[in-house]
Symmetry: C2
Subunit: 241 residues, 2 copies
């Protein structure tokens, strides 16, 4: 299968991609930028795909990152991306169904878990004929519930969960997070352009925290033909404001 | 007790207020402006206070509006405001604990219910020594649960519920609405100034609807020293954009 190497964060990182196949999106960059404070401990990414979020987290601040991904070929590709950046000692990828993460893996507790789950239910929109894309976009293997449960399973008390989702299902998202013991603490709406409807939500939850949500001003992606200053900063590897 | 008459919607409406006592706030104007389509049927306002929301709804589009309020003196004041505007045949106020609205009142079903409930729990912030203000701000009599249950009790299937709340408790709000069978359909965040944290949320729910939330761009109240164009339009009696 054709592969190409794409630069990330200027030229600081490089990632292997497959044109026309699964490619990372904006959500991944935004999720990594949500991890503001440098966590004291390990991070995990659920459904890590090509490995973009673990690579970004390792580059940014986290000493040890694990990516769990169902698709074997994506796991292999992500491993090669880690090696390409000399990050193979700090970033590990495992072929793993997130519904069956063994108890001993979760035993010592992760400080941060990230997830960019499929946004759509099987009945919603066209399912890609490309299996890799289909699994990334539609809840064919894992549902939202599976992601929140896996996150709660991995996180230590007080650990942070960051998830990207679509606003249409924000009620489900908040409910499932709370049900799993992950209390929503930060809501970061995203809009393509100022004044438009919210097109994506980023939710930051804390395991075992008390209720109390801070709702930030929307992050705007484009201003005119350019990225907004906030989005340009994220592309440079800076924190989300 | 000293009273004064305050103009509403330019000079089209007038409302009796008590300086230093309970006064309507911005939430009331925004809630009334959330009722975009002209409802085919009656509207009710839960915890109607000085009667501002029922008066605005009657002025705007609704033929028959009922306000339920626990405090007898506010009910009397609101009735006099309705008479002042010649609206006493279309706007009715009742002294009523919303937890005990009789079955026969709800029997023929309201098309719209609005609520601007107390935002704070008893443990949060200072409770006013003025009883009227204390009841409006703190959950001393009725909780969020009581408001969502009363709304579901009054609304016909497909009827709309509009509520103003604080973003810190957005998770509770969405959860309680869904639990009551009022599915959140529209989230309208409000910010004092562009780029600031969201200071208030307006939620539009529909009884018995399928899940699916549209999240609008925040309504901005101030630009510089002036009201924003959107807020100025609401003060003129126009719909929320």
């Amino acid at each position: 299968m054709t592969e190409e190497i794409q630069p990330l964060i200027g030229q600081d990182l490089r990632i292997i991609q497959r044109p026309g196949q699964y490619r990372f999106g904006l959500e991944a960059l935004l999720l990594a930028a949500m991890v503001r404070r440098k966590p004291e401990g390990k991070a995990a990414d659920l459904g890590s795909g090509d490995g973009v979020i673990p690579l970004l987290l390792a580059y940014r601040k986290v000493r040890e990152v694990t990516g769990y991904e169902l698709q074997e070929d994506l796991v292999n590709m992500a491993r090669r991306s880690a090696e390409l950046n000399g990050l193979q000692d700090r970033v590990h990828f495992f072929q793993q169904d997130i519904r069956r993460i063994p108890q001993e893996v979760a035993a010592d507790g992760f400080a941060v878990v990230t997830a960019n789950p499929p946004f759509f239910r099987p009945g919603e929109g066209r399912i890609s004929s490309n299996q890799s894309l289909a699994l990334a976009r539609h809840e064919l293997a894992c549902t939202l519930d599976d992601f929140t449960r896996a996150a709660a399973h991995l996180l230590r008390a007080g650990g942070d969960f960051f998830i990207a989702y679509r606003p249409e299902r924000l009620v489900d998202l908040m409910l499932k997070c709370r049900e799993a013991g992950l209390e929503p603490r930060i809501l970061q709406p995203v809009q393509s352009r100022r004044g438009q409807e919210i097109s994506m939500v980023l939710l930051g939850c804390r395991r075992g925290a008390r209720p109390g949500l801070t709702c930030h001003s929307p992050l705007i992606i484009y201003e005119g033909e350019e990225y907004s200053p906030a989005m340009a900063a994220i592309y440079r590897g800076e924190d989300l404001l």
